[in-house]
């Protein structure tokens, strides 16, 4: 079902766990297959410095999340918003066709993390403005 590369990454995934000091967190559920992916990003000057993940899903989701967090490192937010899940598939060699759509949950989690980042920025800016204004 899964190729050896996917199984190897699944066995030893990178970037697992929560990220202390993350300033962007995205939690996404796939309503069809029930998989959950949580992405933690540490963003500085619009560049993703660190990326980690937690996943509730099969071997494929875990391997793909590992690869996705690796690809996210050192790219800009703009690039991350355009993150194409097919780059993960390319890295993995191939992915079972009937399970491919489950990978979208990773993309959702990334987008939600960046949305979270913008919200935090807006809140911080508002606070800053309030402090200056008052």
């Amino acid at each position: 079902m899964y190729n050896q590369k996917i199984m190897n990454i699944f066995k030893n995934p990178q970037n697992v766990g929560s990220l202390r000091g993350a300033n962007a967190i995205g939690y996404a559920t796939d309503f069809e297959c029930g998989d959950i992916v949580k992405i933690f990003l540490s963003i500085e000057d619009n560049i993703i410095k660190q990326a980690k993940f937690q996943a509730f899903g099969g071997a494929g989701i875990i391997a793909a999340s590992s690869v996705a967090t690796k690809l996210l490192k050192d790219i800009s937010i703009d690039e991350a918003l355009e993150f194409d899940i097919s780059s993960v598939v390319a890295e993995l060699g191939n992915f079972p066709e009937n399970k491919k759509y489950c990978l979208n949950v990773i993309k959702d989690a990334i987008s939600l993390a960046i949305e979270d980042y913008y919200k935090r920025q807006a809140r911080a800016a508002k606070k800053e403005a309030e402090r200056n204004g008052l």
Binding site: G26, A55, F56, G57, A59, D108
Partner: protein, 406 residues
Amino acid sequence: MENNKIYLDNASTTMVNSEVLAEMMPFFNTVYGNPNSLHSFGREAKAAVDNARERIARGIGCKPDEIYFTSGATEANNWVLKGIAYASREAKKGNHIITSKIEHASILETCRELEKDGFKVSYLDVDKYGFVRLDQLLHEISADTILISIMAANNEVGTVQNIQAITNIANEKGVIFHTDATQAIGAINFNVKEMGIDALSLSSHKINGPKGVGALYLKKGINIKKFMLGGEQEKNMRAGTLNTPAIVGFGKAVEIATRDIIANSKKLRTLRDYFIREVQSKIDYVYLNGHSVQRLPNNVSLAFGMVEGESILFMLDMAGIAVSTGSACESGSVEPSHVLKAMNIPQDLAQGTVRFSLGKTTTKEQLDYVVEQLVDIIKKLRHMSPISKSQIGNVKKGDKKCIIKK
């Protein structure tokens, strides 16, 4: 590692027993005649088939001429439903069938097909243990009901139905009762005559017999249409050259399974309960699916909180341990198990369910090794999990789809 591999997927299929295999061997290249041929080669093969038929009949308490060999329980299930439904339509009788929501796909998909062709089907609910609701069964039976089909024991969660109670209801109401006994043979004693069962599906490969053979027991006098056409085999009811070696092996497998039922069940039950206790005492947040007592002696279906079954399966596989998630037939699809859904198991726990099905060669030492591995695997996967303890059984569906677009 090869030699130390541990097989805990006996509900999917089993190893052929060596006694069974020994009986089968001559029928490949020594007694290879067609059992329907008139010459000595054929007569010899026919004698072997007849012997197997008698063994199976003895095993479930019916007459040999009430056993029809098929390619397996799937065919038997397809045939009994369609055959009885269309025979009833031809006789201008009722068109209503009752089954349950937790049946094997060969029953459920056939029922859906029959619905498309104008038959009415009621799918009975089950309770949290997987027991069919008898009050609902009574309520659903009408003058139009022609057949009730309820599995004897569930392949995924191991729940053993109150088959005698269901049979009694069907008999009282004069409705034909069929049971899919694929998982139950060798675990439950069947005497179809005493119990009042009208039809029963059996499979060989679940009881250490060869694959590709099974049977339908059908009480004499029940009207059924032919399913396979193109030959006069099986009293002109099921066309196709008989698979003599497989049938011989099947007969021997049923004989052994029913002969050793008490000793085997006792041994398996002891191992099963030991394994459940060990896992639950060494790992937190593990839940047993199905009933703790009224379950197949070899079935352990466990829901591991916060982790996903497929990940557990692959990690166990890397440690040389074979199990299945929910049910093997569904592991290729992304739909969660229909059985766990019918039992109202929360989706995260349904996804975290792994089935360990013990077999004749399972030992306590093997199970100790599995528990040891499980402890590490679950710890590792929980470290990766975004689900917290307080969310088990009630995982939030996640945030809305992202709204920002670049």
